[in-house]
Amino acid sequence: MADQKGKIGKQVVLPLSKAVEISVKSIKTRLGRSMITASGIVLAIAFLMSIFVSSSINKALLEKGSAGISIQLQNLGEEEQVKQIWLVVLSLLVCVVGIANATLMSVTERYKEIGTMKCLGALDRFIIKLFLLESGFMGLIGSIAGALLGGLLITIVSSINYGLEVITKFPVIDFLYYFVIAVALGTVLSVIGAVYPAYTAARMVPADAMRSEI
């Protein structure tokens, strides 16, 4: 102890593997809450995916499907599609706001945990890292669930409308392509939604850990 007197170092570390471990634990421990937060992204991504898949199914049927279906499809207006795109964009925005809101609440709830971590030597960026990772994981899982759900539902609905040809002519490549896009978008949006709350959390002062009220 004595030999270190007067010498102050700088290095404090939080390895990524440890950060991942802590944030996954955080999600698991508050599973109910995490699922509610993630449900926003599930729904928004399901909606997005359903639009993607329905348009690629329509395209596939127009190109390869029987004449009867083509006539049915041509009756669908352009206007309808524009409206749908607007709705998707709106639902994604609402979802980002929802995530920001939920994360802000969780920051307020966990002020003591954050303050304690800082007392133990955590830097601001450790706290940011933990919150972004947590939100990113929730976004990833939520988006996968949402993309599968949306894709599945729209395929069922289309098969009811146009018959089994939807299954035989199913655009598998397109589906996978859109799946990746939807999951990536959902994850990125979740992380974006958590940026401001994570920043707020990081700015909390360690003395907050001492507060015994609230």
Binding site: I8, T29, T116, K118, C119, G121, A122, L123, F126
Partner: protein, 243 residues
């Protein structure tokens, strides 16, 4: 080594500005704490006790004056150095235990070691050793919620010792515990003080604390009202209880 000052304050003042009102919480505090001492800071609420405590712990900076921890001026440190100081030099114990709820007892104890860059294997070994030392050798896989208040505070003591700090700062460590458990924690802190030679500074209302303290600082109205050694204490406890 016994004469070294681990904490030294020079004319420390702290002013909080709330709207148009400036509140002077500390009005020039001078104190010296030697390595290996067991110090209690006593004082009524609103006396500036918590503010002083935060200064000594490197959690807050003075408006005026200097705070030296291990002969380093805290005001000169940047964010990285402060984090390093909190991680390696100071162990914190809180009234409300403040264990991270999602982690097990062992993970709570090893977290500061992770921050300090220790390898996982090494930190697990040391964590188990520390938990055994505080009497929780068989409960290290339990989550805080599965432990009693006294046990949680024991984990917190082990966590505070994680990086062999020079100072342990305990903020009302017995405030949320019943009498008997509180006594056990006080005894544990005293034991760590003697065996690990760690300086213990504790803010408290608990008169049981006085029994084991080497010195007691009485804070009133932002100033050190008096400093008492343990030898002088017995005479005065009666009057304290009467207050």
């Amino acid at each position: 080594m016994a004469e070294e000052n681990v904490v030294r304050t020079r004319n420390v003042k702290k002013v909080f500005v709330m709207g148009n009102v400036a509140l002077e919480a500390l009005k020039g505090i001078n104190l010296e704490i030697r390595r290996g001492e067991y110090i209690s800071i006593m004082g009524p609420s609103g006396s500036g006790k918590s503010t002083l405590f935060n200064m000594i712990g490197g959690l807050d900076k003075p408006t005026e004056g200097k705070v030296y921890i291990d002969e380093v001026d805290v005001a000169q440190l940047d964010a990285y150095e402060l984090a390093w100081l909190r991680c390696r030099k100071i162990g914190y114990i809180f009234q409300t235990f403040n264990l991270i709820p999602v982690m097990t007892a062992l993970e709570n104890v090893t977290l500061p070691m992770t921050f300090a860059g220790m390898s996982t294997d090494e930190s697990i070994d040391k964590g188990i050793r520390l938990l055994t030392m505080v009497g929780l050798g068989d409960r290290f896989q339990h989550k805080p919620i599965e432990l009693s208040g006294g046990q949680q505070q024991r984990v917190a003591v082990a966590r505070a010792l994680a990086n062999d700090p020079a100072i342990i700062l305990a903020d009302e460590p017995t405030g949320n515990l019943d009498l008997k458990t509180g006594k056990e924690i006080i005894d544990l802190l005293r034991k760590m003080n003697e065996e690990q030679e760690v300086t213990i500074i504790s803010a408290t209302h608990d008169l049981k604390m006085l029994d084991v303290s080497d010195r007691v600082f009485w804070i009133r109205d932002g100033k050190v009202e008096r400093v008492e050694r343990r030898a002088d204490l017995d005479l005065n406890i009666g009057t304290v209880e009467g207050e």
